[in-house]
Assembly symmetry: C2
Homo-oligomer: 635 residues x 2
């Protein structure tokens, strides 16, 4: 029987030939999570083959580069007859906890893509054979290049930039007229954005960029094979200038500070692009297209537009649909001629992250089902509708779930407590962290688990206050400040205990209340209730998990049959990938943006009423949460 060794644990097990690696791991007592049930769709069970041969179906699920590095999905890979040594990734990305594990985001989330779509990126690379110069024909280099393009693409006008024209003469002569042109097709014209000697059609990249108030995420896409080759995320450097969009707008009041914010977000994006490019052997100037999705304020700041009028009545943004700009024009450090696609915004507080996000849902299809899309970021945005109507609204959720304003809060990156459960007997927390690293803080999904557990065990009441009448070794009161210790200083990677304070809990409750209230009011305003919903899509930066049960317990999401819920993660990034790869999605996104009606809830007095009702766990009206066990009575 073949032997399988699991590193770094050193566990070995003898198993039958052709055993699935996931089964072998279980037999060896090695925990490899596979929350999708081994369907190859979540990507969590990724392992790396160090020695030996396997029969893997991971290709197509993982990017070719990842597979080339020896990674496979344990659930989609079987042993052959020989021994095997493999590594269970303990922690990917940087150990400082700044970057989310990259490997998981390698996965192309096929389940979010429609069944049928046509690969049709904005920028294409095209191999040309250009005739040699001749005295007789009197043609310039540019004339000859234009003729070669029109020969293949038809007699549409061909536009050149000055930077491009400067390369033409030498490029046409370097490989005897064999050149690769990068072309953008737009409004019945062809724009030549690059020209390179020889055949470079296989070196063709794009980036999808999600610009969040707190977090920036970037995907590097290989356009030659329409696959994601890598992804990364990091804090938006603007966080130093204010945690939410309103504080950013206030900060931006002086032109030098507006410019500072622009530079900060560009620096964050560039750091991620450079890192991805380096990791995958790509020169940033080989990236010839980018799609950027972000909320309306983020897009204004990225473009250097004064966002002040978004904050002042009548809340009029400078622009919602951003025209195509060149990378050089707004300072993106990729191919300087690259055209940048911005996902269209709908209103001052419903941005391109939403028009990108709903591309991943049935709200973008001809379905008659009424569906709800909730994107929980620093702002919460909600879209309700079906093929015949689409309503959108926004609420100021705050950055709690991304770690902002929470004592030990952090993003869902290495060392973040992402799952937690409190033992009702001992009061100690069982938790797991991103990358299996020692804990450094707690991220949104961990907060939700923890708050639900504290409520169900009776250590907090419905108002989120610690029940000091019931002693718990992990609840510490210093003066007027009470907190629960999730991990002790000894367990923690930072040398400080990881705690959650009563103030943190208030913060989280305000966040969940604002989202729930917005959903409830929106439905009410169109004469619908939660039970009318067929599907509820939840997007946001919670990382890989969101425990829907716990999210219901605290009243963040409505109490509906669990199968109606779909946690779709960073749908803004996924939607940005979609608009990079297909004109069909770009077109659909624009139509969705035009169809969407923006509802201003914040000026509606009924909103405050809904919000106040939601400031309890799960709600002042328990009838709205029939499946949630009645909360522990106060002692």
């Amino acid at each position: 029987m073949p032997t399988v060794e699991f590193r770094p644990f050193g566990r070995r097990v003898q198993v039958d030939p052709h055993t699935e690696i996931l089964d072998a791991a279980r037999q060896a007592g090695v925990s490899i999570d596979a929350p999708c049930g081994g369907k190859g769709s979540c990507g969590k069970c990724i392992v790396r083959i160090l020695e030996g041969e396997v029969d893997s179906k991971s290709l197509g699920l993982l990017s070719p580069d990842t597979v080339a590095d020896g990674y496979v999905l344990a659930c989609a890979t079987r042993l052959l007859d020989g021994d095997l040594v493999l590594e269970v990734p303990e922690q990917a990305g940087r150990s400082e906890g700044k970057f989310a594990p990259e490997i998981e985001t390698h996965l192309i989330r096929r389940e979010l893509l429609p069944k049928q779509w046509e690969f049709d990126p904005l920028a294409v690379k095209w191999l040309l054979h250009v005739s040699q110069p001749q005295l007789e024909d009197g043609l310039s280099d540019v004339d000859r290049l234009r003729r070669a393009i029109q020969h293949d693409w038809g007699k549409q006008p061909v536009e050149f930039s000055l930077l491009g024209i400067r390369k033409v003469a030498d490029t046409l002569r370097a490989a005897e007229g064999t050149v690769t042109a990068t072309l953008v097709r737009h409004a019945k014209r062809l724009y030549v954005i690059n020209i390179e000697p020889g055949d470079t059609t296989l070196r063709h990249y794009a980036v999808a960029i999600d610009v969040g108030t707190t977090t920036i995420a970037v995907q590097l896409i290989n356009l030659a094979v329409a696959q994601i080759v890598g992804a990364g995320s990091d804090y938006n450097d603007q966080v130093a200038c204010g945690l939410d969009v309103i504080s950013r707008i206030n900060y931006a009041r002086r032109p030098d500070r507006l410019e500072e914010l622009r530079q900060r977000v560009l620096a964050s994006i560039h750091r991620l692009i450079r890192q991805l490019a380096r990791n995958h052997g790509v020169d940033p100037h080989e990236i010839s297209n980018a799609a950027i999705s972000g909320n309306t304020v983020m897009i204004h700041l990225l473009l250097g537009l004064n966002p002040e009028y978004i904050r002042l009545a009548p809340y009029s943004p400078t622009l919602l649909e951003v025209p195509y700009f060149r990378a050089a024009e707004f300072g993106l450090d990729i191919n300087q001629e690259a055209w940048i696609h911005f996902s269209p915004c709908v209103g001052s507080y419903v941005g391109g992250d939403i028009t990108a996000g709903i591309l991943c849902t049935d709200l973008a299809t001809p379905s008659e089902d009424i569906n709800l899309f909730i994107d929980i970021g620093t702002n919460g945005e909600i879209v309700l509708g079906n093929h015949s109507f689409l309503l959108a609204c926004a609420c100021s959720a705050g950055p709690a779930f991304e770690g902002g304003g929470i004592e030990c809060g952090m993003r869902a990156s290495t060392g973040a407590i992402e799952k937690a459960r409190i033992d009702p007997e001992t009061g100690l927390a069982h938790y797991s962290t991103v990358g299996g690293a020692r804990p450094r803080g707690i991220c949104g999904s961990g907060m939700i688990d923890l708050m639900a557990s504290l409520l169900l065990t009776g250590w907090i009441d419905a108002a989120g206050k610690f029940n000091q009448a019931r002693p718990c070794p992990r609840i510490i009161v210093e003066g007027r400040r009470a907190s629960y210790v999730i991990a002790t200083a000894e367990e923690s990677a930072t040398g400080q205990p990881i705690i959650i304070t009563e103030v943190d809990l208030e913060n989280i409750i305000r966040t969940k209340a604002s989202i729930y209230a917005a959903c409830a009011l929106m439905l009410k305003q169109v004469g619908l209730g939660f039970t009318d919903l067929q599907q509820v899509y939840i997007a946001g930066g919670f990382g890989r998990f969101l425990d829907l049960e716990n999210a219901t317990v605290i009243g963040l999401i409505p109490d509906l049959p669990r199968e109606k819920f779909h946690y779709i993660g960073n749908s803004s990034l996924m939607g940005s990938y979609m608009v990079v790869v297909s004109q069909e999605f770009r077109q659909r996104q624009l139509e969705l943006a035009h169809r969407m009606t923006y509802l201003e809830l914040n000026t509606d007095p009924a909103y405050m009423e809904q919000y106040t009702g939601a400031l309890f766990l799960p709600h002042t009206d328990p009838g709205q949460f029939p499946s949630v066990p009645s909360r522990a009575p106060r002692h």
Copy 2:
């Protein structure tokens, strides 16, 4: 009787009321040249009214600004009943002799414009009233601006640049929605290149730029009234890197030197634009359009394109028709969004200066007459044809007539000897200078006069050699070097005598021979002769004069009835003005460029034969110059 005082001479004269100022000057013994015979077309008789009132028809002939400064044409202005004090400009421009007199170029040369044409510049300013922002309509600032534009201009797409969008929010709010948009109409789209608060439609400027190998000339045009408000010219700073296009191409072989040449020509252009803008109270950023005409090599260097392949067989340029670039794109320091029109080039050695220049001639009209256009610059370009055919060729004339390679040569700027005649008895030269200043050197028209005069007086022979057998006090021989002293060290402004050497004469003969040979061969190749020509247009930087008689005597131009000749000065600059002010001319210019066939003469063995024959004064075949007196016999 009214008294007229002429300053700075201090001459006074009493004349009848309503006397023309030109007549009053003659009566006062003050010399005011009026070579056009007082028709108001040459602009030479410009004077400035310091005190008193006049009845002037100068408006329409001079720019409004010039008139506002008190300038009138003496030939188009009469006294009233009162006294008058006026100033005869002694020398305009800088006394260093670097700038040509500006006032003459103020004149709009109406005789070169067709009778009928429509004012239709590429960039227009348009006053808009944009609706105020409203919560209900959900429109962004850019949406509202677009609607206001489409309301006036129809439902064509409206394009914005990022720099423009950055100004929109504040500009729309500064004057309650009253804004002036600068629009460019192109390919059924409207491009917003500027937006300003309030009504700025009267502050709307363009520049026409002629980029010569030796000389740069710039006109500032007030687009609000379609008039030239000022003009200036200066050396092309590239002269330091080589006198002709071939030496510039050689210099540009290294990328850093190509960039140096680009910076040098830009610096020359910017100096002229800044000076003109300052003199006329214009901010360079109020200039929202430019038209640039130059030979193919100059345009390559201006755009930073490697010109090497123009010099190497098969002499293929990188581009001939330059697309519209923005000012920011190639570094022109006017409104950064301004679109730049480049006059289309025809071949490697027939450039946009020629397609601009022939716009000023009957070659651009439906006439059946066969006409010849000769542009004498550092390169000589010749166009022959009528409405049904157009042939163009080029020859390397060299910069002699612009002062290059000539011991005391200089451009036709202040202090240049522009007219000269040698007294056949005394051998002394009578001359006049640009601006009436003390002589600093000799310009092209002066060289032609001098050479013709030396020939007719017998002090040089048909080969251009000094006749040392006939003593002349002004001919000096030092070793093997013989020269003629035009102005002594005492007369000269530089403290050095102004001379012309035998080497200079050889140089000038080679220049005139290359031009005459090209004309003759071109005609021969299409089976025509000089006598088939109806009109001969001579363009070039000779300044205000070109003595056609003397030009015939030395064999620069063919010996035809003098009324067939038209000296049209800097036609490239005038043509650039025309394409700035009318779409009709831009269209016509492009059609002319497409219709023109480039003849390569330099590789034709017959060219050398023609050239050799033309290396005498006027020619080895005196039969070609029947009207020229037989040359003085050698003593």
